[in-house]
Each structure stands twice: as structure tokens, then as C-alpha cells.
């Protein structure tokens, strides 16, 4: 299939892996920030194909996973209201809050709708003027333009029965937080290609300078990821720390400027808690004051819902590569994919969930990452 098969070619993969093997002379630990890349690594077994000593640390880049518990509890409270149609991306539906998930609310009578595009939620609001329609606006910079466009349209159409529960997060502050951690093991980053397709690469320039860390913008198909890893290892071996673009077919230095204008009109920077990590200053977006009327947190008065995460969960350390998932006492006991405590066990590509699946094999030693 055009534009897909080219990036799955086994011969090219083998050639890239040979190059990687001939490049590496010592152990290195790099983080792929984006959950989509983690997914590619796990789905294709890339971590097992890398030379010994090259460690992929699965970063906090799955927006579903890092949405804080209290935000999910707020979503559950809104979704349970009889006057509400609650719309969400599909995989947010099964992410557990402190007592249940949106599936549970649905089974108890909540009107929960899975939408593929946030604009569908606006259509639902138009079609149901007697209902409050709420969209759960989550994600990194990637989903932000469509979410922003949704709120923009709702305001333009004066759709008073539409609002958005916003829990947007941003990549660069997360990279800073990881690099500022005194125990950090990460020596380089694969930056998320789709985030950069929207935002461009400029905001990574100061990060490379400040932390002297290689950052390679990387795509999502298996060959994209292998190429990102190859370029990163080359920099590390040569002692360089530069911003590099291994995904030029989608990413430019400036990014998608009209999309940025839309996003920065609708959203404004805010402090944001990340599930499993905690509060990171200026690491998220909320609706800007111009669009505050469309903020579901105000409309439904749920800002008071505060939830503590399980003290058993050590996902913050897992996400920084400080411990392996199975070193956490709750792993496989109090915390499993069907009753997860922390972010990396929630999504199938989370580090803990991936280990949980592989743990059932006889030789867990073959599992990298």
C-alpha cells in the first residue's frame, strides 16, 4: 500500500539495524516521548531487535494515559448527569477514574458517545438543543487544532449547549521536567513527529541548548522509528547534541502556522498535573478567557473534585526509566491492565501493560525497553 508499505520494508529495516549495530560502542538510554512510537516499537518488536545496551525508555506521551485521575473523575461526574451527552475519543472511555470508567457510567445510564472527530460533538449539540453536549478535549499539540476549531465553531454558531472539558498537555515542558529530574537516565529524545507537524521544531532549539541533549524528530512507521534511533545513536556516539529532523515528509521548522494561530486563540497555557508524574508548570492548555463560557469545568462546577492517586503506584519512576515495571510492588497484583493504578498500565502501549503481556512468556529477558 502506497505510503505505508515503504515504511515497513523488512530489507530496509535489516539494513538500518545493521547500521545501528555498527554504530553502537557503549550502552545508551533514549526516550521516545510519544505513545504512538511506543506502540510501533512494541507492535513490531523493535526493542528486541536493537543491540544489547540500547535502552528505549517509554515516555509519558500517551495523552490517554497521562490525563490526571481527577480530570477523569470530573468527566465521570459530568457524564453521569441526565441532561448531558458526553462525547469522547474512543480510548478515553475505558480509562479508569478512582471508582469506575466512562463505560461504567454508560452502563448506569449515562449518554456517552464515541466520536472520531471533535467536530462530530458540535453536530450532536446542534441536533440536541435540549441537551448539554460536552466533549472531553484531551491530547498533546497534535489533537489541539481540531479541538480548538471545535470550540471556535461552537462560539461562532453561539451553540450555548456545547462545552469542552479540556485536559491538554504539551511536550516541551515534559522534556524539561524529565531533564530536570536529579535521577534522570535519559540521554536523548525521539521527539513526536505529529506534535512537531503542528508546532514545528523551534521550541526544541532551546531545550537542546540548555540540556545538551540530542533531540531527533521522528515519525511513526517502523522504518521511521528505526531511522530516528539510528540518527540519535550516531549523535550520542559522536558526542553531539543537536536538533535533527528524521521526519521531513511531515515536519518543517515552522510547523503548521494557521493551526498554531487557531490553537493560540482558543487555548492558553496553564499548569497541568500528569497522571503518574504530578504537576508540571506551564505544561498544558486550558480555554482562553475569550472562550471561558465553553469551559465545562465552569459550567458544571466540577473544579472542586480533587483525587489523590494511589500511593502504591510508581509509574513516575517507570516513565523516567528509573525502575522496570516489574520492580514495582503493585505490578501484576494490585495493578493489572484491567484494573490499572497508573498511566503506563492503562494503555496497551504503556510500559507496564507491555511488560505485563510479555511477562507471560518464558523468557522475559528477551524484552527490551
Amino acid at each position: 500500500m502506497k505510503y505505508l508499505d515503504e515504511f515497513h520494508d523488512p530489507d530496509l529495516a535489516r539494513r538500518l539495524l545493521d547500521e545501528i549495530r555498527s554504530t553502537v560502542t557503549q550502552p545508551w538510554a533514549m526516550m521516545e516521548v510519544c505513545g504512538g512510537q511506543t506502540h510501533t516499537i512494541i507492535r513490531n518488536g523493535i526493542d528486541q531487535l536493537l543491540p544489547d545496551g540500547v535502552e528505549m525508555i517509554h515516555g509519558p506521551g500517551c495523552p490517554v494515559c497521562v490525563t490526571p485521575l481527577e480530570m477523569i473523575d470530573r468527566a465521570l461526574a459530568i457524564a453521569a448527569r441526565p441532561d448531558v451527552i458526553f462525547c469522547s475519543f474512543g480510548d478515553m472511555i475505558r480509562v479508569p477514574g478512582s471508582a469506575k470508567d466512562l463505560f461504567g457510567v454508560k452502563s448506569e445510564g449515562g449518554d456517552i458517545r464515541v466520536v472520531y472527530s471533535p467536530l462530530d460533538a458540535v453536530a450532536i449539540a446542534r441536533d440536541n438543543p435540549d441537551k448539554q453536549v460536552v466533549f472531553f478535549g484531551i491530547g498533546f499539540e497534535t489533537t489541539a487544532p481540531a479541538n480548538a476549531m471545535t470550540v471556535y465553531l461552537a462560539k461562532k454558531e453561539n451553540l450555548r449547549n456545547f462545552s469542552m472539558l479540556v485536559s491538554h498537555v504539551l511536550v516541551p515542558p515534559a522534556i524539561s521536567a524529565i531533564m530536570d529530574s536529579p535521577d534522570r537516565r535519559v540521554q536523548a529524545f525521539l521527539a513526536a513527529g505529529h506534535v512537531c507537524a503542528v508546532m514545528g521544531m523551534r521550541e526544541y532549539v532551546p531545550l537542546v541548548g540548555k540540556y545538551q541533549v540530542p533531540i531527533v524528530v521522528t515519525g511513526f512507521e517502523p522504518l521511521d522509528v528505526l531511522e530516528g534511533i539510528r540518527r540519535t545513536l550516531t549523535q550520542l556516539e559522536q558526542g553531539r547534541a543537536e536538533l535533527d529532523n528524521a521526519y521531513p515528509r511531515a515536519v518543517s521548522m515552522d510547523g503548521n502556522v494557521p493551526a498554531q494561530h487557531m490553537v493560540l486563540d482558543v487555548f492558553t497555557t496553564t499548569d497541568r498535573a500528569w497522571r503518574g508524574i504530578g504537576m508540571i508548570p506551564a505544561s498544558g492548555w486550558r480555554l482562553s478567557d475569550r472562550y471561558a463560557d465553553f469551559d465545562a469545568e465552569n459550567r458544571f462546577d466540577v473544579a472542586g473534585i480533587q483525587t489523590e492517586e494511589s500511593p502504591l503506584c510508581r509509574s513516575g519512576e517507570v516513565l523516567q526509566g528509573l525502575i522496570k515495571p516489574q520492580e514495582c510492588e503493585a505490578f501484576g497484583t494490585a495493578c493489572t491492565p484491567r484494573s490499572p493504578l497508573g498511566a503506563p498500565m492503562v494503555s496497551s502501549e504503556g510500559a507496564c501493560a507491555a511488560y505485563h503481556a510479555f511477562r507471560r512468556l518464558d523468557s522475559p529477558a528477551t524484552v527490551g525497553g
Binding site: G45, I46, D47, R94, P222, R360
Partner: protein
């Protein structure tokens, strides 16, 4: 059952049978005095959609709730039960159909209701003979549509070579059903010498699939509210009893058959690996995934291995008969795309492992519940 143990049991336990296509063997009704829900309550106090999706939640419901209530052995469950009636070995199955929308590219709920039960019977090697059809209709459904669906059901039965010999109609108040639900139950006869079941996979067996996968699930998703996307994919809804009859007639010593419906190939292989206590290795590049299915799964974030099929079978056959079995399947128009996708191994019993396209490996897990579009 309803008179015994009255307090903690959810009301729907006594009123409905197993909701899926899992037949329950040895239907002894156990004493339900003091019975409490054995499902782990921390998961959910209420039944979730995922409990009907053919994945791990469904398996939990059967294992911990239905099987104990009926005194059945959950490890021996297949697509159909085989019971002895006099000298005959009779296969029995029941299946309910709630597909939405009722009409989808390549099929409809009527044809599905026939093929679902026919295929379940075929999965124990039976010749399907008779079906019953129960209609639960929501007040307000157009009689014309009911007529067209019933005609489709009759035509599908004729095509599969079975007769619909009993039926039932119930009408529920508007708002208390979703237009139309259909239940079909089927019986068939298992020929002498045929011994096919989920526990019979053996190390070295070849794993075959009778054609391209993922078509039904993607076809239905493509017309779902809120997810509509343009595609030319048609559901593979069709009977596969002819394929099974061909394999048996050719003298293939078929060990296991499974129709990979809800939960797809991943669920089918995991269930067989668990029931037979063997490992299964599959080669991703050998799995026939049509380009359109791969593209749709790509943007919906689904794994084609977990997408439902309604006209395919997975066969475990001795390795030395694999080529012959493939030739038999490919000679039938319903099995033209048959392919060998893997083998049974001694290692990692109960686990399905795939060799990936670029030469790595991954565990193919049993899907948890509903398959949902991912966003990243």
C-alpha cells in the same frame, strides 16, 4: 432457577442464557441458595458493553458467572456443544444478534443470524441441519423492513443448506429495544470419526485461515454512527460449513476449528492456546489482511487481528496435511484466499506470539473488551 437464591443475584442472570456463542456443556442446574455474584466486583458493579465483546471480560462472565451457575466446565467450551442422543452425536448452539446498523455493506442481521449459528455448528465438524429463529422486535419497526430481513434470513438458510423449523416473536415497547434482535439456535449431526474441539491442538499443528480477515468488523464500523468512512469493504458474512465438509471428506484429521468472530483471530487463537495448553506462533506477513482493512485499522488504531469476521474459519491440522488442507479450502469459492499463518509450539503454553513484519516478535493478547478507535 428464579426461585432459588434471591438476594444478590442480578435479575438478568436467571432471565437470559449465555449471551454469546459459547455453548455450555453438561447443563446441570446447581443449587443457587445463597449464591452471590462471583465476578470480581472491583471491575464493575454493572454489566458493561465489553462483557459482550468476546474478549477477556466475556470470558470472565462465562467462567465465573454462567458456567458455575449451570454446573458446566468452562475449560471445555467451544462454539457448539456436542451431546449424545441415542446413537447420534448432536451439535447444539445458540447465538443472539444485535448488530447495529441492521443493514451493513455485504450483509444484514438476518443473514448474519443464520451464518453465525451455522458456522458455530460447523466448528465441531457437524453438518448443520435445523435452526430456530426468535425475533425480539421493538414497537415501531417497519413491517416492510422486518419482511426484508426475514427474507434475507430464509435465503441465507437455503444457501447454507439448513431449515428454519421453529420461531418466536416478541414485541417490546418503543424505547425498550434497538429495533430488532434475533436469536437463532441450531442443531446438527457430527459424522462418525470426526473429533474436533478446542482442546485438541497439538505441537507441530499448522494453523490455517480460510481467507482475508477483518472484513466484517471494518464493514460494520464504516457505517456506524459517528464513525462513517468511505470504503468499498464488504462484510464476509457467509456460511463455512461447506469448507468444513470438504476438509472432512478429504480425510484431513482436523484438530481444532474456530470461526474468528468477536475478538477476531487474536481471541480465537488465544482461546485455543489456553484450552489446548499449547503455544501458538503466527507470522504477521503471512496473515491475509486486505489493503482496505489495513488502511481502516491504521486510522482507527485497531489491530486487524482483533477485528471480527463472519465467514472465515481457523483450522489446526497436522503439519503433514497442511498443504492438502489448504488445497481443499482453496478449491472452494468460500476459501479461495486460504493461507497458512502459523504453527503450534511447545513453548509459551497459553500464549500467542507473532513474528512481526520487520523480524521482531510480539505477544498477541486476548482483547480486553470493546475494540475502540485509538487516537494516537
Amino acid at each position: 432457577m428464579r426461585s432459588a437464591g434471591s438476594t444478590a443475584r442480578p435479575p438478568w442472570v436467571a432471565e437470559r442464557g449465555p449471551s454469546g456463542d459459547d455453548a455450555l456443556l453438561s447443563p446441570n442446574v446447581s443449587a443457587l441458595e445463597g449464591w452471590t455474584c462471583p465476578l470480581p466486583l472491583r471491575d464493575s458493579r454493572t454489566v458493561l458493553l465489553g462483557h459482550g465483546a468476546g474478549g477477556r471480560l466475556s470470558a470472565d462472565l462465562v467462567e465465573h458467572l454462567f458456567a458455575p451457575a449451570f454446573g458446566s466446565d468452562p475449560s471445555a467450551l467451544g462454539d457448539s456443544a456436542v451431546v449424545e442422543v441415542g446413537p447420534a452425536r448432536v451439535a447444539m448452539t445458540t447465538d443472539s444478534f444485535v448488530v447495529r446498523p441492521r443493514w451493513f455493506p455485504g450483509g444484514n442481521i438476518g443473514a448474519l443470524a443464520v451464518n453465525g449459528s451455522v458456522n458455530d455448528l460447523a466448528m465441531v465438524g457437524a453438518h448443520p441441519l435445523y435452526l430456530t429463529a426468535g425475533f425480539i422486535v421493538e414497537e415501531g419497526l417497519e413491517v416492510d423492513e422486518l419482511g426484508r430481513i426475514t427474507e434475507a434470513l430464509g435465503a441465507a438458510a437455503a444457501e447454507a443448506g439448513v431449515r428454519v423449523v421453529a420461531g418466536d416473536t416478541k414485541v417490546v415497547d418503543r424505547g425498550h429495544g434497538d429495533g430488532l434482535f434475533i436469536n437463532t439456535s441450531g442443531v446438527g449431526l457430527v459424522p462418525d470419526g470426526v473429533d474436533i474441539g478446542p482442546t485438541k491442538a497439538r505441537s507441530g499443528d499448522a494453523v490455517l485461515v480460510s481467507g482475508p480477515i477483518g472484513l466484517h468488523g471494518v464493514a460494520v464500523l464504516s457505517v456506524r454512527d459517528g464513525l462513517e468512512f468511505g470504503t468499498e469493504i464488504l462484510s464476509d458474512c457467509q456460511p463455512v460449513n461447506g469448507l468444513v465438509a470438504d476438509l472432512v471428506a478429504a480425510g484431513i484429521d482436523v484438530h481444532v476449528l474456530r470461526d474468528p468472530t468477536r475478538g477476531g483471530v487474536a481471541a480465537a487463537l488465544n482461546e485455543i492456546a489456553a484450552s489446548s495448553r499449547v503455544g501458538v506462533r503466527i507470522v504477521e506477513r503471512d496473515i491475509p489482511v486486505p489493503d482496505d482493512v489495513r488502511a481502516a485499522c491504521g486510522f482507527l488504531g485497531l489491530d486487524p487481528l482483533v477485528v471480527a469476521n463472519e465467514g472465515k474459519l481457523i483450522a489446526f491440522v497436522p503439519a503433514e496435511q497442511a498443504d492438502q488442507a489448504l488445497a481443499v479450502l482453496q478449491a472452494n469459492p468460500r476459501g479461495i484466499g486460504a493461507t497458512r499463518i502459523g504453527m503450534v509450539v511447545d513453548e509459551h503454553p497459553g500464549v500467542v506470539v507473532a513474528s512481526t513484519g520487520i523480524g521482531g516478535t510480539r505477544v498477541v493478547d486476548l482483547p480486553l473488551g470493546e475494540q475502540l478507535p485509538r487516537i494516537c
